[in-house]
């Protein structure tokens, strides 16, 4: 049995379902992200795991023990809140020591563990300061130290990096991941930032409209998104519709707006399907050399890459190209679009709850 088991949990407020029939098994030591747009139910799910909300239906168990209606102060869970929720009237050391004090850890051991944890997050020199005198990134580390010093069974991170600016956020992602590896604590991260989820997690649970849309390793989800929502929420996707002309042996022949495409996948002949292809999987070639011709509408230089908006028979498409140091197609140029057959995915329509 998995370490953390969420079994068919639902949370309804009157007729509105915040979370609907959500199941998830998390292994010990795993780092899982709940990813989704705001209002998708990811924060409610986290609060049910923390015990601040009780599920309307379903059960939560940790390490084989049913936790569904255990109060939050008896769950042994460390939480890092989006606002950090530090105790402003206590010093950094007192903030970190609070959870140990609540567990009646003797003073000497307490001081030792606080010192160890503070040095793990690189704040040993700030022990005597008040939160007011710290920067956002430092406060974030205090919040993390306070949550992990108690050696909790579970670590919950509620959008912990969203209040930081981009540079610090990136370095904190790596640091957070390293600390999680060192401590080995089972961790659930709630985020709406797909890059953050992909960078940090072992697996991602994509949520949409109160339900689990897809669960899998970051690479797996990115490469084979199940439906159009996941495909568009994780990275971006060019989508177009087509009609299946013939299907045989996992090979589909599909006509989209007059273009004939050969695509791997399963569908019935005559069915209308949505196809998706990632912008970075499309190559620009000379006019007439690719699968179809198109005109460059705009191009934007992003440093590491170029972002093209290209008008083709399939509609407006995004294409990203690595910046290799050479200048490429200009706005108004006619180019050919080419891609590997396997790069195109047949997507299910977004499930509506």
């Amino acid at each position: 049995m998995s370490f953390l088991v969420l079994k068919n949990i639902s949370k309804r407020y009157g007729p509105v379902a915040a979370v609907e029939d959500f199941s998830l098994d998390v292994e010990k030591g795993e780092f899982i992200s709940l990813l989704g747009p705001s209002g998708c139910g990811k924060t409610t799910t986290l609060q049910m795991i923390a015990g601040f909300e009780e599920p309307t239906a379903g059960s939560i168990s940790v390490d084989g023990r049913d936790m569904t209606s255990v109060p939050p102060n008896a769950r042994d869970i460390g939480i890092v809140f989006q606002s950090y929720a530090l105790f402003p009237h206590m010093t950094v050391a007192d903030n970190v020591a609070f959870g140990l004090e609540m567990r009646n850890v003797p003073k000497q051991e307490r001081q030792q563990r606080v010192a160890e944890t503070l040095s793990m997050v690189g704040l040993e020199e700030f022990a005597g300061r008040f939160p007011k005198a710290l920067s956002g990134g430092q406060r974030q580390r205090v919040a993390l130290a306070r949550a992990i010093v108690i050696k909790p069974q579970l670590l919950l991170l509620d959008e912990p990096l969203s209040a930081l600016d981009a540079k610090i956020r990136e370095s904190m992602q790596i640091e957070l991941r390293n600390i999680q590896h060192t401590v080995g604590v089972t961790t659930i991260l709630v985020t709406h930032d797909q890059a953050e989820a992909m960078a940090m997690s072992d697996r991602i649970a994509v949520m949409n409209k109160a339900r689990l849309a897809q669960l899998g390793a970051p690479f797996e989800i990115y490469e084979s998104p199940g439906d159009s929502f996941t495909s568009n929420f994780l990275g971006s996707t060019n989508m177009f519709e087509g009609k299946v002309n013939s299907a045989s042996d996992g090979n589909l022949s599909i006509s989209c707006a007059g273009v004939e495409l050969s695509v791997p996948g399963q569908a019935k002949t005559g069915e209308v399907v949505t196809l998706g292809i990632r912008p970075e999987k499309i190559a620009l070639v000379g006019a007439g050399e690719g699968l179809l011709n198109a005109t460059v509408h705009t191009r934007i230089f992003l440093g590491t890459s170029w972002l093209y908006q290209i008008d083709s028979e399939l509609g407006r498409m995004s294409v990203t190209l690595q910046n290799t140091g050479r200048d490429v197609a200009l706005e108004g140029d006619t180019v050919g679009l080419n891609w590997q057959r396997e790069a195109v995915r047949v997507l299910r329509e977004e499930q509506v709850a």
Binding site: F52, P72, F81, A85, F87, P88, H89, K132
Partner: protein, 284 residues
């Protein structure tokens, strides 16, 4: 035109008002307190410290000052004990209930202190509602004396002043991150520990500020002690009033008023400085 002129002109009316209504009477009272008084000759143009000497040396006045500050401390403590939890409960209410309860708490401020105090007199008098009720159900034989007692004054003043404490604590609660309570819970604290270790220390500035208001208003309160304390259970403010209007010894009344003012200013500034120093490192 001088750049500084407009601000001065705009402040002019307020300045005139304060000078004529506050500064002038204060200075006159201060000067009056040095005059001599003779029962047959009235106020004489002889000046000295004798009024102050009388206030400071006479045990009659000691008792009155001790009573006044005793009442002030009791009222402040009670207001903090009642007002702080009240504000905290309000903070956790749904918004409809909160506005209703806020109205109920602040409502009394819309009624004159005199009317409210007379209401208390009707309740706690020997023939008042409380005593009559207790006698009629047979709990007591003779009425409990509540009118003209220190307890009566304290109870009525707490009722009058508790809204100030609630408002003050309420304001600091608004600045509290609602998630700190959850953070403390998740770390294993009981609800009571959360209150004692996390919420209370953070609303302490509000409690202390509210205490300051309540203390200052109680120490100089006149109407409530005058009505509920009568002519014999005196506080400083009613004593000064009696010196002016009954004994007609205006210089002594002025000296009492000045001593009360100075004592209050000292207590309040010392307290304020203590609070500011204590919380400067913690809060913005």
């Amino acid at each position: 035109m001088n750049r500084l002129l407009p601000p001065y002109l705009l402040n002019g009316p307020a300045l005139v008002l304060f000078v004529t209504m506050m500064a002038v009477p204060l200075v006159l009272t201060f000067m009056l307190s040095f005059n001599s008084f003779d029962f047959y000759g009235g106020i004489k143009a002889e000046y000295g410290w004798h009024n102050y000497y009388e206030v400071i040396s006479d045990s009659y006045f000691h008792e009155i000052f001790a009573r006044t500050y005793g009442i002030a401390i009791a009222v402040t403590l009670l207001c903090a004990l009642i007002g702080a939890p009240e504000a905290y409960i309000l903070y956790h209410m749904s918004s409809t209930w909160r506005s209703l309860c806020l109205l109920a708490i602040l409502g009394p401020l819309l009624i004159s202190v005199i009317v409210r105090t007379l209401g208390w007199a009707l309740l706690i008098g020997n023939k008042g509602v409380i005593n009559e009720a207790l006698i009629s159900i047979g709990l007591i034989e003779t009425p409990i004396k509540m009118m003209f007692t220190q307890t009566g004054i304290v109870v009525a003043l707490v009722h009058v002043l508790v809204p100030f404490m609630v408002l003050s604590v309420w304001t600091t609660l608004q600045k509290l991150d609602p998630l700190v309570e959850r953070a403390a819970l998740s770390l294993g604290a009981s609800h009571f520990t959360v209150l004692r270790r996390v919420v209370l220390p953070q609303v302490m500035p509000g409690v202390l500020a509210g205490s300051l208001i309540v203390f200052a208003l109680t120490a100089s309160a006149f109407a409530t002690p005058a009505i509920l304390g009568g002519r014999r259970l005196k506080v400083v403010a009613t004593t000064a009033y009696d010196e002016y209007l009954n004994t007609l010894n205006w210089p002594l009344g002025a000296a009492i008023a000045v001593v009360l003012l100075v004592a209050n200013v000292i207590v309040i500034t010392a307290y304020n400085r203590y609070v500011e120093r204590k919380y400067a490192a913690v809060f913005d």
